[in-house]
Structure formats: structure tokens, C-alpha cells
């Protein structure tokens, strides 16, 4: 009797804690399970005939870290895409040859994207390599410059020949091939499994995962519930891969506006490097379906790509203009955003969530479980730019 009483006394606080533990409804569980499995299956890019080829990945790695393919000979892709920072740069907006007005995105899991750039101005990883080359604010080089740099460097030319055959006289072809090698390298950049993935897998088979923090569970419940985050941050990579207006300012400077997706579609259409062009290696054209069917609408004005939410710990600051300095600031934005900030024919989805301090902390705690520190170790280069293995 006495012992039983004692047990009750001890159990009381525990059961109170249990009562606060979030439980998930079957509908919530379906949504959460939809954020996996992780990692997603490996696939090759049909538009890039050297996708997955070790020689191409090696050349791509070398070129990614090389400063030879920049107008001033000082900029590499890695200048802005720093491995330890999730392949972003920690800056609000970077400086290339001159100031760039968008934030540098991280590159981990980049292969899972349908569109590249905050405005989706490229429809392939190859295109998103060529874009900073040709952009006079970023690296500012021409096809002539890229082709010449490859021809004149014996080791690079030798590596190129082993993958693509003799260097073509058409500089645009050489440039596209070099971009395909860098694309093949970038396809290898991926994040590991996270605490969230373990929790998700356990939930999928009805098992508990006691190691997953309670605060993160509460935050997850908001994420798939009243926060409606999951509508746009959908699926294993936490993005539907498309474009929305979340009320982040479009102003670059007074009177100067970033028109986002609207300009992105126009850029894509005009580019000779899009998937409708001659550099797409998919002869069936099946991989160009998105490019064939995309159309501008007025709504695209001020829309930006939904970013992945994996590995955010390393990619501060946030948003297309780098205007939010922490995850707390992002959650505050969604909590307080004025619907007036969203473009008039924007979607009726962004509204102030008015989260309590506790709920905001919980949402941040959840977002943190989508990162693991090990993904941001210094990158060990595997290939020597002076040799042709």
C-alpha cells in the first residue's frame, strides 16, 4: 500500500509531462512521413551525358575550385560557395566582380532541384554553372575565355579530352561541356541523415523515437499544422521546387525592384543553354517538359524559389536577399508578416501566424533537427589540378 502511494507520487509529474507530449493524428503522420525517406534514390541527369561519370566529377571538382574561369583571375565558384558553410558564403549578398543583389544559396542536395537560382532562371545544373560565368557581376567570362583556359592548360585539356574527346572548335560547346563536368561534381553534394529522419522513419512504422527532442516534436506539429509550412516546404527536401511570394521585400534599393520568378522565366526562355536548346543531351526531350510548359503570369512578379530547409544551420543568412539573419528572424517573419506585403494577386496563404514565444522556439527547434554538423566539415579535395590521372 505504502509502496503504491509512493509510486503514485513519483508518477504524477511524469504523467503531467506525458500529457504535454505532442501526439500526431493519422493525417499529421501521413504528412510527416511524406518528408522522407532520406536520402532519396540516386538518379542521373538525362540532360547531362557525363552525369555520374568519375572523370567528369574529378574535372568538375577542379574547375569548381579554380580561379582561372573568372574575368579577374581571382574568383572561383568556391569563393562564394564555401564548403564549410553548406556551400554558401555567410554573407547577406556577395561581391563578385561587382555587387550581386541576391543571397548565395547553399549547394547541398542541389541535384534535387527542378529550377536553379532564386528566380529559377536555369532549368538545369549545367545552366546554373554557365549563368555566373556570363554574369558580368559574378565571374564575367565569355565562352572564348572558358575554352581558352581549358585549351591552354595541359592537365585540364587532357582531362577534358578523356571525357569529351578532342576540344571542339565551337567555344560554346567547350563551355557547355565544362559546365556539365561541374554539374556532375555538384550532383555529388548531399546532406546526411538527420535526427528528423530517424524520428520520421520510426513514426512511419509506429515506433517511438525517445531521442527526438520534445520541443522539435511540438515545432513539427506546427510545421505540418497551423503553420501550413508544409504546403510549400513539401517532401523529403522540404521544398515543392516552385515559387511563391512570402512577403519578403522585392526592393533592392529605393526604386530598384527584383521581379523574381517573372524575370527568371524570361531569362530561361532567352537562354541558348536551356533544355530546349542544343546542349540538352536528352534526345527524347522528355526532361524539358517543365521548360516547354512554363508560362509567365502576373503572379510570378515577386515570387522566389522555395528553398530547401535541410542544413539551414550552415547557410545563414536567409531569404533571396539575405535579409533575415537567423532562424528566429525567419519564424518571426512568418509570425508577424502583414498580408499587405504580399503582392496583390499573390496567394491567400501567407498571413501572420501570431505564434507565442514558446511556439516560435519550438518551430526553430524543429528546423534545427534538419541539420547535422558533420555535413559542414572542410572539403577534402580528391584531385590534383596539375595532373591528368
Amino acid at each position: 500500500m505504502k509502496r503504491r502511494l509512493l509510486a503514485l507520487v513519483f508518477l504524477a509529474p511524469i504523467s503531467a509531462a506525458l500529457a504535454q507530449q505532442p501526439t500526431f493524428t493519422p493525417a499529421e503522420i501521413r504528412k510527416i512521413v511524406g518528408h522522407g525517406p532520406w536520402p532519396p534514390p540516386a538518379t542521373l541527369d538525362a540532360g547531362n551525358r557525363v552525369s555520374g561519370k568519375p572523370d567528369a566529377i574529378a574535372l568538375g571538382e577542379i574547375l569548381f575550385f579554380s580561379t582561372k574561369l573568372s574575368g579577374n583571375g581571382q574568383l572561383a565558384c568556391a569563393t562564394c560557395h564555401v564548403p564549410e558553410l553548406g556551400w554558401s558564403d555567410g554573407k547577406k549578398t556577395p561581391n563578385g566582380l561587382s555587387a550581386v543583389d541576391r543571397n548565395t544559396p547553399g549547394l547541398l542536395n542541389i541535384r534535387l532541384n527542378r529550377w536553379f537560382g532564386w528566380d529559377g532562371g536555369s532549368d538545369s545544373l549545367m545552366g546554373s554553372v554557365i549563368r555566373p560565368w556570363l554574369d558580368t557581376r559574378e565571374m564575367g567570362v565569355s565562352p572564348v575565355h572558358v575554352a581558352k583556359a581549358l585549351r591552354e592548360d595541359a592537365a585540364l585539356a587532357c582531362r577534358y579530352r578523356k571525357i569529351f574527346g578532342p576540344l571542339e572548335s565551337d567555344d560554346a560547346v567547350v563551355m557547355a561541356n565544362a559546365a556539365k563536368a561541374i554539374a556532375a561534381f555538384q550532383e555529388t553534394l548531399a546532406t546526411s541523415r538527420t535526427p528528423f529522419d530517424d524520428f520520421r522513419d520510426a513514426l512511419a512504422v509506429g515506433r517511438a523515437d525517445p531521442s527526438y527532442p520534445e520541443a522539435a516534436k511540438r515545432g513539427l506539429k506546427i510545421f505540418v499544422g497551423k503553420g501550413d509550412c508544409q504546403l510549400c516546404h513539401f517532401g523529403p527536401a522540404f521544398t515543392n521546387g516552385e515559387f511563391h511570394d512570402t512577403g519578403i521585400s522585392q526592393f533592392i534599393a529605393p526604386g530598384k525592384i527584383d521581379n523574381g520568378r517573372f524575370g527568371g522565366i524570361k531569362f530561361l526562355r532567352e537562354s541558348q543553354f536551356n533544355r530546349l536548346g542544343r546542349f540538352n543531351d536528352d534526345a527524347t526531350g522528355a526532361n524539358a517538359v517543365a521548360t516547354r510548359h512554363v508560362e509567365t503570369t502576373h503572379r510570378n512578379w515577386g515570387e522566389f524559389k522555395v528553398p530547401t530547409l535541410r542544413n539551414l544551420e550552415a547557410t545563414v543568412p536567409y531569404m533571396h536577399n539575405g535579409s533575415l539573419a537567423s532562424l528566429h528572424d525567419v519564424v518571426k517573419h512568418y509570425s508577424e508578416v502583414s498580408p499587405d506585403r504580399v503582392h496583390s494577386d499573390g496567394e491567400a496563404l501567407i498571413r501572420p501566424l501570431r505564434l507565442s514565444a514558446q511556439e516560435s522556439d519550438d518551430l526553430v527547434a524543429f528546423l534545427r533537427t534538419l541539420s547535422v554538423a558533420a555535413d559542414n566539415r572542410p572539403f577534402q579535395k580528391r584531385h590534383d589540378s596539375r595532373t591528368c590521372e
Binding site: 513539401f234 515543392n240 517543365a290 516547354r292 510548359h293 508560362e295
Partner: protein
């Protein structure tokens, strides 16, 4: 995905129109009609579209057989609650007598979508819709 046809959508089979209607055969198709008698049969290809993946809609125009061409038809999908449609413009092609395929459609978000079929000519323009829950 669970597809729910809203109440109010009449199944052609068993109605008076069905008798007169020379519906080209589309296997596993669902039928739709409006109160003015615009009738069609349609199906998703693949049968269960996934969020973020392209699908097509195949459909047969029934009561106005012979009067439709790909140019007079429109297929679209919208999210009424979010006030937006798809991010892609489907293209319609004839695939058989009175049968068409709208290619290049994508549901890019979970939630309630409305599928819209329209024939704009000859006048009057006619239109049927059906609600679909995508998750």
C-alpha cells in the same frame, strides 16, 4: 492521392443524356456534365498524379462531339482557396475521334484543386469543373 469527386457531379451512365451520347471509350474514365448538358469523360495519366510531378489528362468530349478542336478546348487546374492556378500551361492535342490529351499539368501543392474543362467555341462557351483533394 485521394481523388474525391464532389457531390453534384452527375454520372452520365443512367441519365437520359447518356443514351444519346456517343462517348468514345476511355477506360477507367470518370464522367462530368453541367446543367446545360456539356458532358465529357476524363482520366488522369498516370492514374494517381503525385505532387510536384507532371501528369496528363485525357478526355473525350461527348455531347458536343464533332464541334470541338484542341484550339477551342481548355483544361486547367486551380486552387480556389489560394487564388492561384498551376505554374504550367497545358497543351491540348487530339488523340482520337473527339478524344484529347492535355499534357504538362502539375499539382505543385497539397490541398484542394479544381479541375476545369472548357469549350469556348462554338458559342455559348461551356464549362465543367470537379474538385480534387491532393495530398
Amino acid at each position: 492521392m485521394r481523388a474525391l469527386l464532389v457531390a453534384g457531379v452527375l454520372l452520365l451512365a443512367g441519365t437520359a443524356q447518356a443514351v444519346a451520347c456517343q462517348m468514345p471509350v476511355l477506360e477507367a474514365a470518370r464522367t462530368l456534365t453541367d446543367d446545360k448538358g456539356f458532358a465529357l469523360a476524363w482520366r488522369f495519366v498516370p492514374a494517381q498524379p503525385k505532387i510536384g510531378e507532371f501528369f496528363a489528362v485525357e478526355f473525350a468530349v461527348c455531347n458536343r462531339a464533332g464541334s470541338a478542336t484542341p484550339e477551342t478546348l481548355r483544361v486547367d487546374a486551380t486552387m480556389p482557396a489560394h487564388r492561384h492556378g498551376m505554374n504550367f500551361q497545358p497543351k491540348i492535342a487530339a488523340i482520337g475521334p473527339n478524344t484529347y490529351r492535355a499534357e504538362g499539368m502539375m499539382f505543385h501543392m497539397p490541398g484542394k484543386w479544381q479541375l476545369v474543362f472548357e469549350q469556348r467555341a462554338p458559342a455559348p462557351s461551356v464549362r465543367v469543373t470537379t474538385d480534387i483533394e491532393i495530398e
